[in-house]
């Protein structure tokens, strides 16, 4: 989130060494000496480090990923798991209506975030594991979508003509599917195809279906963006030069085009991931995401909405965590973009 002064604009656009950007001047002690031979990536890193919001957001996001990755460790240290129905098995935790007896959703030294009304499971581990579920799904979906978008977008943009037309129409077609409805309709079909009618759909298959549908319907925006960028890059001199020199297309794409597309890809990916997290949560809220007993972030909202009249606290933890995560991730996305591309400062 760097707002550059107008004076800095001419210099900032060039990929080579920059000079005399006043906004960068104070923190860097002696820019003249250090600026020699810095790559765009390194420049970006320097700019990013100077953006406090970005750094804080990055730390928060990192913390979320760490929590997700270390969920079993946290659960082991904390001494609870997200499946045991503590409130039901141990008397004195839930009242006769199955709500926590203690105020604020049953928060105490033992159950840090309280107990889930009804089944009496531990909210803290539920949330930690729920974040783990949602984030792993979101990361998988984002990676797959970005890869697909790169392949389709760049191919369309670079080859143009009939290829571009076909890929463009495919993109349009895929964009016309509403993904939540599609998922609701698609799951039973998969179930009928692959699962024995007397068996439950395995959790891994459900996760795969979820990833598959969200991936299938999630790559189009980025693909269009990349196609546009590629179209304009393709006409640039360095690409022309490479072509004249007889460089094969694969090499042109890898060595000439992709490095110039890193910025939109990275920026879009940092926006896509939180979007996917909310979309998965939305599906779970509707009851078509991951099912019990797999802990799930979005399903905690559904539960929270169910019990808010009598236990408002329950909604607070998944809700708060989600707000912080999305906010941090979006701010991080902004910072990444600013760091890569300071001329579009607002």
């Amino acid at each position: 989130m760097t707002s550059t002064s107008p004076a800095a604009v001419p210099g900032a656009g060039s990929p080579g060494p920059e000079k005399s950007d006043p906004s960068f001047a104070p923190p860097v002690k002696d820019p003249q000496k250090e600026l020699v031979g810095r790559s765009p990536g390194r420049l970006m890193w320097v700019r990013f480090k100077r953006d406090r919001t970005g750094v804080v957001s990055a730390c928060i996001v990192l913390a979320f990923f760490l929590i997700a990755a270390l969920a079993p460790v946290i659960s082991w240290l904390y001494g609870k798991d997200p499946y045991t129905r503590y409130g039901e098995i141990r008397p004195g935790l839930l009242n006769e209506n199955k709500y926590p007896i203690k105020p604020n959703g049953g928060i105490d030294g033992e159950f840090w975030f309280g107990l889930e009304p009804g089944l009496g499971r531990d909210v803290f581990t539920q949330l930690v594991y729920g974040i783990r579920t949602s984030l792993s799904l979101a990361v998988a979906i984002t990676l797959l979508s970005v890869l697909t978008a790169i392949v389709i977008g760049v191919a369309g943009g670079y080859f143009g003509g009939r290829t571009d037309y076909l890929l463009g129409r495919l993109t349009d077609l895929m964009m016309s599917f509403p993904n939540q409805l599609f998922f609701i309709a698609f799951t039973p079909v998969v179930m009928a195809l692959f699962v024995n009618p007397q068996d439950e759909m395995p959790t891994w298959m459900r996760a795969c279906v979820l990833v598959y549908v969200m991936w299938l319907l999630g790559w189009m925006t980025l693909a269009r963006l990349l196609r546009g960028q590629t179209l304009s890059l393709r006409e640039r001199e360095f690409v022309e030069a490479a072509k004249v020199a007889g460089t094969p297309p694969a090499r042109i794409i890898r060595k000439e085009l992709l490095p110039n597309l890193v910025t939109p890809i990275l920026v879009q990916a940092t926006y896509m991931l939180p979007n996917n997290v909310t979309a998965i949560a939305g599906l779970s809220f509707l009851g078509v995401g991951m099912l019990e007993p797999t802990p799930d972030w979005g399903r905690m909202f559904a539960k929270g909405a169910e019990v808010y009249q009598s236990d408002l606290t329950y909604m607070f933890f998944p809700g708060g965590a989600m707000v912080i995560f999305i906010l941090a991730f979006n701010l991080l996305g902004d910072s990444v973009r600013d760091a890569f591309d300071p001329k579009t400062g607002r």
Partner: protein, 597 residues
């Protein structure tokens, strides 16, 4: 970082912090740990019904203390009434409505001491049996009239019974028809295929009306529970002269203390005083408010919120059958002011987990399932002890003869006995067996399925959960070859005797698609026992025998696991008086309501 972005970040943080404060400030504790016995529980124990004589069947009904006439009561209902023709009434919404508008030969009445009796409603008493119970004679009271002023005679009663044979009557009860003809279900209808509409009538060997005031039923087998059957809303009186067949379902001729002034299906209904109804002829009903204003399309959550708020017109509002929804249960029960305005009691339903005996043939496996299931979790899923109570056996506490037996320790171990289940499953050598558990895709059952699956897995089953759309659930589990191992269902008695429970659930001769014997239990010995008990003419003795048989089946065969007795809590506004929970109606009794000054 520039000034702009700092400000954005700060305000975002501030908003977040405010959110935190707001949220944490609002949640008070659930409170309450030990709970006293509810009124309903006390009432429910040792329920007994007596068949009343002429003196007890005389009107008028004793005045409700403090009652006054006048005012309008608002009734908040979720679903519209799909049937108003008495012969088509079989669901609780319409049964509750029919207490106000239709009269039958007999009726339930709560006595001052809280006991219940079956009294004569249109008839002078609950019935006189002769010929060992094969013949039942009823005499009509004087001064009973339809809303148009025409006298109700034995011709109308004959017509009421005979038209239930007509093809357009599809929903109502079939007990009398089957008893009179001695044939079951669709076969019975063939005795009078067109009903009374083409001039045919039932022969005197089945139904006799020697004069305008006398009705004599002749049954093929001795029947002990005729007064109960005749008290069903489905046998409400229909005018012989003013019968409009199919159209009667929208515009019936009323005989109760209220008549229908207007009915807009799905929107509203207005009931006003029926001036032809004479309180002196009615031992149970009152006519306090001037009118009932029914509003449809009010969800359980909405009606609960409105009645909790007790504001404006909600002060004079209540409902026929809308009850407190699971998510509001805690709010209602932790607020003494609201709880004061609630009535509660048992519904007639019992929740069972049927075990498919075709697929699970080893009794030890069935016992393991019975021990493993956590009944407490189901009660919790339905909203806690206000919505249900753990069941120890098959027979509901609302039935005569109920005993609080608990052969599988379902009440003693609210969370099930997983250790014992594991041992039994191991002994059967089937540890790790696949168990397909079908349940209705509704929040309560989903929540229960989590707990049940966990317990069953711990006991050593490889549980395969199958959630089934609520609309088709009963169709799917009702098929004989349903492919599932365990599935829940509920069953309610038609009257307070287990004779409409045990045979329906466990008679092997009734195993067919769509029948209630979901476990597909076939046991010759028990079937003979059922036939024997049916012939017992003393209702109380029969009730005790049914109870014994139900427990014997449970212990010997475990075709189903008793899970819970359903309960309900209903609210009413602060200006409504005379509200009580009627144990025979299983709902708030509308006939004694009045509007306070």
């Amino acid at each position: 970082m520039s000034a702009v972005s700092t400000r954005t970040a700060r305000s975002a943080l501030a908003a977040l912090a405010a959110g935190v404060l707001f949220l944490t400030g609002c949640s008070s504790g659930g409170g309450g740990d030990e709970q006293s016995e509810t009124e309903a529980k006390k009432q429910g124990k040792d329920i007994s019904y007596s068949f009343a004589d002429a003196a007890a069947s005389k009107g008028p009904a004793p005045e409700v203390e403090g009652a006054r006439e006048g005012g309008t009561i608002k009734m908040l209902q979720r679903d519209t009434f799909s049937h108003l023709d008495p012969a088509q009434i079989y669901v609780s919404d319409e049964i509750s409505l029919s207490t106000l508008i239709h009269r039958r030969l007999t009726n339930y009445k709560r006595n001052k001491d809280g006991s219940y009796s079956v009294v004569g409603d249109l008839a002078t008493d609950s019935g006189k049996k002769s010929d060992g119970g094969k013949t039942w004679t009823y005499k009509l009271k004087d001064g009973i009239r339809f809303e148009d002023g025409s006298e109700i005679t034995s011709k109308d009663i004959r017509h009421t019974i005979e038209r239930t044979f007509a093809p357009f009557i599809t929903e109502g009860p079939t007990f009398l028809q089957e008893w009179m003809t001695g044939k079951g279900g669709t076969e019975a209808r063939k005795s009078l295929p067109d009903g009374p509409y083409k001039g045919d009538h039932l022969p005197d060997s089945m139904l006799e009306t020697p004069d305008d005031k006398t009705i004599v039923f002749h049954f093929k087998q001795p029947q002990a529970e005729v007064p109960y059957a005749l008290a069903m809303s489905g046998y409400g009186v229909v005018s012989a002269k003013k019968d409009t067949k199919e159209k009667y379902d929208k515009k019936p001729l009323c005989s109760g203390p209220y008549k229908i002034a207007s009915f807009k299906s799905g929107k509203s209904m207005k009931l006003v005083r029926n001036t032809e109804w004479d309180p002196k002829t009615d031992a149970q009903r009152h006519q306090y408010p001037d009118a009932f204003d029914v509003q449809f399309g009010v969800s359980f959550e909405d009606s609960t919120k409105r009645l909790i708020s007790d504001s404006g017109e909600n002060r004079t509002a209540t409902s026929f059958t809308n009850s407190v929804d699971a998510s509001s249960m805690q709010k209602v029960r932790s607020n003494p002011e609201v709880e004061k305005r609630s009535v509660s009691g048992y519904q007639s339903y019992v929740g069972y987990m049927a075990i498919n005996t075709d697929r699970i043939t080893d009794k030890r496996v069935r016992q393991a399932i019975a021990y493993a299931l956590p009944a407490d979790s189901l009660v919790g899923a339905f909203g806690g002890t206000g919505a249900a109570e753990m069941a120890g056996n098959y027979i509901s506490p609302t039935l005569v003869g109920h005993k609080p037996t608990d052969p599988f320790g379902k009440i003693k171990n609210p969370q099930g006995d997983v250790k014992k289940a594991k041992k039994l499953l191991k002994a059967s050598g089937k540890s790790g067996m696949k168990l397909t558990f079908a349940y209705q895709n509704a929040p309560e059952w989903q929540q229960f399925s989590v707990a049940a699956t966990q317990n069953l897995k711990k006991a050593g089953f490889d549980v395969q959960k199958k959630d089934i759309i609520a609309d088709t659930y009963y169709d799917q589990i009702g098929k004989i070859k349903n492919g599932f191992d365990i599935y829940h269902h509920s069953w309610g008695a038609d009257w307070p005797s287990a004779s409409t429970v045990v045979p329906n659930l466990f008679d092997g001769r009734q195993v067919q698609d769509g029948a209630a014997n979901y476990a597909h239990l076939k046991n010759e010995k028990f079937q003979q026992e059922m036939d024997r008990i049916r012939k017992i003419t003393d209702p109380d003795k029969a009730a005790a025998e049914w109870m014994k048989l139900a427990d014997r089946i449970l212990k010997a065969e475990v075709p189903a696991v008793p899970l819970q007795y359903y309960k309900t809590i209903q609210l009413h506004g602060s200006k409504i008086g005379g509200a009580y929970f009627d144990e025979s109606l299983h709902d708030l009794m509308p006939t004694s309501l009045y509007v306070k000054k």
